[in-house]
């Protein structure tokens, strides 16, 4: 990682980032790795707003944001990077306005569109790490599939009502179709499909619009996503070269964080539960042994697999 750390910090960077640089485990090299990193935030809503605030604040150098929606009044109880005066503006532009005020140093790249099978690889290929801050299963499977193919680490979170979930996928990335490595006994990192092979039936799907959402719950998950992304980039965990000759660096035990803010109970009753997930699945459609026959970038762009059908959505409606 030498190329990431071979310049000095500017005076402005020193002043702005000093409080996080002096934390044990951070430091100048970690800060330069953040400054040289490119992060894509897909979704500028309840997860994406707080995640973006802290990723921008920490000094990630290039920040792309994808969203095709405009700001609405009903977003504002939880989407804290927008503003009442920016209702009607594209969410991406509204959030970047806020982020530029917070930290003018990073490059902000607006993607004024929903993520689609057609544009996904083009957009995702420009970044080092992806945050899935979307709100529907079809887009979640699409993002994961493209991240597998492009070998990008993915920090995925979701939240509905008073519950939240968070998991780090594809980190460090391993090429598609490789499910065991000689000498590596620990599990290889799973993709979204390894953890959740099939989407729920449409009757069991709920969005924040239909089911409601507590602002602080989705906010906690968004900040937690930023925390994972910053640690991965600052420490170079996405670059751990587990394909190299032995001795192999250990992989990270896959896990899922489950947050439950219990409105039926009193104060201090929220629970955080971390559960162990399985690693890369040999039978995974996207990353398993036979996956190169199922999934390619060209196929995705031409409509195979059909994500809307897979998630039984009316095919016109894939919103972030």
């Amino acid at each position: 990682m030498a190329q990431y750390t071979d310049r000095a910090l500017t005076e402005e960077e020193m002043e702005r980032y000093s409080r996080q640089m002096i934390v044990p485990g951070m430091g100048k090299d970690a800060q330069l790795r953040l400054i040289n990193s490119k992060v894509l935030i897909i979704g500028a809503g309840g997860l994406g707003c707080p995640a973006a605030q802290y990723i921008a604040g920490a000094g990630v150098g290039t920040i792309g944001i994808v969203d095709g929606d405009v700001v609405e009044i009903s977003n504002l109880h939880r989407q804290v990077g927008h503003s009442t005066t920016r209702v009607g503006m594209m969410k991406v532009d509204s959030l970047i306005t806020h982020l530029k005020g917070l930290n003018p140093l990073p490059s902000y790249i607006p993607h004024l569109t929903h993520l689609t099978p057609h544009n996904a690889a083009d957009i995702i290929s420009q970044y080092d790490l992806v945050l899935d801050c979307t709100d529907n299963p079809a887009t979640r499977y699409l993002i994961s599939d493209v991240c597998v193919l492009l070998e990008k680490p993915l920090v995925s979170a979701a939240s509905v009502q008073a519950s939240g979930q968070l998991t780090v996928l594809n980190c460090p990335p391993v090429p598609q179709g490789i499910t065991s490595i000689l000498g590596v006994t620990h599990p290889l990192p799973p993709c979204y499909r390894c953890c959740f092979p099939k989407p729920p039936p449409p009757s069991a799907m709920t969005t924040c619009g239909e089911a409601g959402i507590v602002g602080t719950v989705v906010g906690m998950m968004g900040i937690a996503q930023a925390g994972e992304a910053i640690k991965i980039l600052a420490k170079g965990h996405h670059r751990a070269d587990i394909l190299n000759d032995p001795p192999h660096e250990p992989t990270f035990p896959p896990s899922l964080l489950i947050y439950s803010y219990d409105l039926e109970k009193g104060p201090s009753s929220a629970t955080f539960r971390s559960v162990r997930m399985a690693g890369r699945r040999k039978t995974c459609f996207a990353c398993g042994d036979n996956s190169p026959q199922n999934l390619t970038l060209e196929g995705i762009q031409k409509g195979t697999p059909n994500y809307d059908q897979f998630c039984s959505l009316p095919s016109a409606k894939v919103t972030l």
Binding site: G48, V160, G164, C195, S203, I258, S260, V275
Partner: protein, 113 residues
């Protein structure tokens, strides 16, 4: 409800069952249930997760929408099953034989944001 109370001389297993991510609404809106379940099924085979899922549908579910929990006698897609805080894939899935004091967590996968 014939299965709900094991015959007094039949061995039982004490376990806790947790529901999360909205599934608790199918089970009296209660997240944690301490249960005593029969140690064997009707064929005298040890009680497995598959047996537990059937047992929960017959004895614990209070919501009529059972399709929110099972489809074709299996747990529906979009529900994770955790055995003592590990994905059931690591433990043998439906065939896992329940042990005393096991904790089984059913959690609905979330997609919102």
């Amino acid at each position: 409800m014939g299965d709900s109370v094991p015959a007094p001389d039949k061995p039982t297993i004490p376990i806790t069952v947790d529901f999360s991510g909205g599934l608790e609404m199918l089970f009296s809106n209660q997240k944690r249930h301490s249960l005593t379940i029969p140690a064997t099924d009707s064929n005298e085979k040890p009680a497995t997760i598959a047996f537990l899922i059937d047992h929960l549908c017959k004895n614990l579910m209070t919501d009529p929408r059972s399709e929110m929990f099972v489809l074709d006698k299996h747990i529906r897609p979009g529900i994770l099953v955790l055995i003592n805080d590990a994905d059931w894939e690591l433990e043998g899935e439906e065939a896992y034989e329940l042990q005393p004091k096991d904790n089984i967590l059913f959690v609905s996968t979330l997609h919102g944001g």
